[in-house]
């Protein structure tokens, strides 16, 4: 638990307050808030677990996330806290605080005991609130903030004659404060470069930590920030390397791919239970986990090539997933739900993460597959190519009228639909690649026939012909837009918004080039980004006029 470590370095806490006090009179000019991202549910949970341990239960409903430019991380820069959301944060905060100060937890959580149980103790309250506050706020509390928190603890303790009730109240306030719920990026204008703002040391620490671990800075990173290490290349590299070598990197990589692959849509995913009785919420959870395990195994454990995610035969299965894929999965008797490593046969029609349920089931309708939806998702999620919205006044009658004997398969129906000129423009960039996944039904199960007719999964991706899903995976593997898209998404994820024109230029020339020239190694890409000056230098908010507007991101992955 961080709390123990923080308490063990009480000197550090004192240094934070001093450093913050110094920062309040920063000679670099007035501070500006250049970014404000609402923390995600996962980040909230992680921070609370880091500070108080996993025994603290978090109950309640989080505000729904908003996806923009393909990422919740970007949408997080546009959302606020609604009235009903505040109610929920208040409930969760009170519940967490009550647990932290209860008799069971307080010996481990609170580094001191009050002089009297029934009265305020400012010294003890300050010690606790100052230490936990540093992680909750991702920076040391200012002297005034700490004084205010101590006062709340004191007032409530006096009113209720209960030291711990006072302490819990102050902690509740911190957990529902804007300082906690929003990642606030603060910078100072550089008089020599008015177009940019240099992030302060605490904001740098947060950018680094949320990128690599999807968590608030740990005590070591906060210590490095307090001592100005993140303002030097060597100090920054030292911290980045420490974090890249940590097992916690896996959580960061999982969080990024969960966002990029749109797994939040699994929350509302349902399949018709009459038609597909095997599909369940548990299968949906396992489907996401299968892909995330595949990603972590290939990219982190085996330091593999990102593009191989689309062709790999290596994966992981549970018996539940095996039932969907019709693959027998054997587990130990005492671990019936265990994950087992599995390799698709070399001649299988299934390989790569796009043939897994996390893609084909997610991008389908409740009762049947959808080549159009899958093709659109493939363009937008994997290649970062925006498919235009459909026009009005379209006759859809032929698309999937399965009762028409002339159009038994989706290919036949879509071909008829594409004969309409107004539809052809968009469908020709979606359907031919979506049809390549038609051997997978809406749950992800393999099928060779649809309505008694054989499925033809042949198609073409940007001039590359394929005959089945595995060849489609190879075509994506070889498409330069795929790695460029990964870089684009990672950069947007890291900065919490669509890159400006200037940032896009830098991204292409530095990040994408390094990624494509360096074996498509995501760990190296993360290091390149995390240690670059540009990552911590933000375009002045009033200089971002060149930003492409949301929805105008056609071919944003582009070519390097």
């Amino acid at each position: 638990m961080i709390i123990r470590k923080l308490c063990a370095i009480a000197v550090l806490t004192a240094a934070f307050v001093v450093a913050a006090a110094c920062a309040e009179a920063d000679p670099a000019g007035p501070a500006r808030l250049v970014g404000m991202r609402r923390i995600t549910q996962e980040q909230y949970r992680q921070i609370v677990a880091d500070v108080f341990g996993k025994s603290i239960r978090i109950g309640g409903r989080f505000e729904p996330d908003q996806r923009d430019a393909g990422l919740i991380a970007v949408g997080a820069s546009q959302v606020s806290v609604t009235a009903s959301g505040f109610e929920q944060y208040d409930d969760m905060a009170r519940s967490i605080a009550a647990q932290v100060v209860d008799e069971q937890h307080r010996p481990a959580m609170i580094p001191c005991a009050p002089a009297a149980l029934h009265a305020a103790d400012d010294a003890c309250a300050g010690k606790f609130l100052g230490s936990v506050g540093a992680t909750l706020y991702r920076r040391p509390l200012t002297q005034r903030e700490l004084a205010d928190e101590i006062k709340i603890a004191s007032d409530v303790a006096g009113r209720l004659h209960d030291f711990y009730a006072g302490l819990g109240s102050a902690l509740t306030g911190m957990l529902e404060s804007a300082q906690f719920l929003f990642r606030q990026e603060v910078g100072h204008a550089d008089p020599a470069d008015i177009a940019h703002v240099e992030l302060d040391t605490w904001s740098k620490a947060s950018r680094l930590s949320f990128l690599l671990w999807n968590a608030a800075p740990d005590p070591l990173l906060l210590d490095a920030a307090a001592h100005g290490e993140l303002d030097t290349k060597s100090g920054l590299a030292r911290q980045a390397d420490r974090m890249l070598a940590s097992p916690r990197l896996e959580a960061g990589v999982r969080a990024f791919f969960t966002d990029m692959l749109g797994f939040s849509a699994f929350d509302g995913l349902a399949k018709d239970p009459v038609l597909y009785p095997k599909f369940s919420a548990r299968v949906a959870a396992d489907a996401q986990e299968q892909t995330l395990r595949t990603i972590v195994d290939l990219l982190l454990t085996r330091h593999g090539d990102y593009r191989d995610l689309f062709t790999t035969h290596e994966t992981f299965l549970t018996p539940l997933l095996g039932a969907i894929y019709r693959i027998p999965v054997t587990t130990p008797d005492d671990l019936p739900d265990a994950w087992v490593r599995y390799a698709y046969p070399k001649d299988a029609d299934q390989a790569g993460i796009l043939t897994e349920a996390s893609f084909v089931a997610l991008h389908s309708q409740p009762g049947r597959s959808s080549p159009t939806v899958r093709g659109k998702a493939l363009r937008e999620v994997v290649l970062c190519q925006k498919v235009p919205d459909p026009p009005g006044n379209v006759n859809f009658a032929l698309v999937q009228d399965t009762s028409n004997p002339a159009f038994k398969t989706a290919r036949q129906r879509l071909t008829a639909h594409r004969s309409e000129a107004t539809c052809a423009g968009c469908h020709k960039i979606m359907d031919p690649i979506g049809l390549g996944l038609e051997n997978f039904d809406t749950t992800g199960a393999f099928r060779a026939m649809e309505n008694g007719a054989p499925i033809d999964a042949a198609g073409e991706l940007d001039g590359i012909k394929f005959t089945n899903a595995t060849e489609l995976g190879r075509a994506i593997h070889d498409n330069p837009a795929a790695p460029a898209c990964l870089v684009n998404r990672l950069y947007g994820y890291a900065i919490g918004r669509t890159p400006s024109k200037e940032e896009t230029t830098w991204m292409h020339s530095e990040l994408t080039r390094a990624f494509t020239g360096g074996g498509y190694d995501i760990k190296a890409l993360l290091r390149k980004l995390a240690t670059s000056d540009e990552f911590y230098r933000v375009a002045s908010p009033d200089r971002r006029a060149g930003d492409p507007a949301p929805g105008k991101l056609a071919l944003q992955g582009g070519q390097p």
Partner: protein, 447 residues
Amino acid sequence: MNLGERLGRRRVLRGMLGGTAVAVGLPFLDCMLNANGTALADGAPLPTIFATWFFGCGLNPGRWEPKSAGKLADLGPELEPLRPYMSKINVMSGFKVHLDGKPALPHITGRIAVQTGVVPAAGQKTALPSVDTIIADQIGTKTRFRSLEVSCIGSRLSESVRAGNIMNPSEVSPAALYTRIFGPDFRDPNAADFVPDPKVMARQSVLSGVKDQLADIQGMVGAADKVRLDEYLTSLRQMEQQLSLELQRPEPLKACSVPTQPAGEMPPNAEVSTMLNNHRLFVRLLASALACGQTRVANIALTEGLSTLRKSGSAVIHHTHTHEEPVDPKLGYQPNVTWFIQNIMTAMGDMIATFDGFREGDRSLLDRMLVWVTSETGYAKMHALDNIPTLTVGGANGRLRTGQHIQTAGDPITRVGLTVQQAMGVPVNDWGADSMGTSRTITEIMA
């Protein structure tokens, strides 16, 4: 003679405008209410309530509109479940969204335009608030909840959007809604005893501290983030309002009967029988919440704009049917689509019956409600943005005349949104932008 008798609404309008057929946005004065209304203990009338009821994918043109304009004498076959309530509704046909050359994003543009009065330009999002939030800011600031949102298909999305494109999320579980309203923080207005809880005062101290700290960053933010911080502050203040109410003895409300935990909730999803079941539970809970004075604004989303309703055992969802199902040449409409519409209308009838059946003295809860029913499209098969079905339900405490069919030939649907706002006391004289801009209240339904 009391003030209401001396100073009627029409008298005010005539006095101001010489009786011309123009309406202006006057804050509605409670003293002008129908004297027969059931009143609070101090004689003040029970407050007027606003609700929205949204469903996606429209209705079949020609099958829902009454034949003639004026007094509502008949209903199209698709509105048949509403027949028992013809005297309490207004049906409005022929209203449309004018695009002014801007793109029509299917199921999105119509929704935004109906709710905010503005069609977003290409690649842009609207930053304007939806009608319900404008009204909630007008009438919902003194209640425990500024508004309550529910969704009947499991999606937390809602049509309720505050300035800055900040969406009020929906509750998807009736049980969760019950706990939120009638859980430990609920104060029964008719309870014999009332003892303020000192812990509530402690919570007020906490919120006061949180608010004070917000001042540190408010001066550092740009315009867009300021809107977001302001929204956070508004939410915090709403919580302060809740706590403040917990420390006051509530006004007794005879019709308030605290319900029991809803039974029979089904795991929320878009299967039609599940939707109908959970909608029924939601509406009953909301009726109790409204009667108990917990809020004055409720937003009910039956589906999303792109309706994902599905029939058990069928591979095709409602939205897909609207585009792909051929029109039956004998029937003249799409049978499967119409099956979904019938179920949506059944739900609407259930909603009206519930609110109308909730008695408050010799009146019903519905009598002091204005429920604005909308969809986001007309004929979904073509993504049409004309003839979008919209209705008002309830008399809004005498502010609306009901039992009317308002028929237009393409008037902007913002006329309905404007009228609804004015009826709820929002001081607005014109609303919408470009060809959607209007100052033409639907005077035929204004009392």
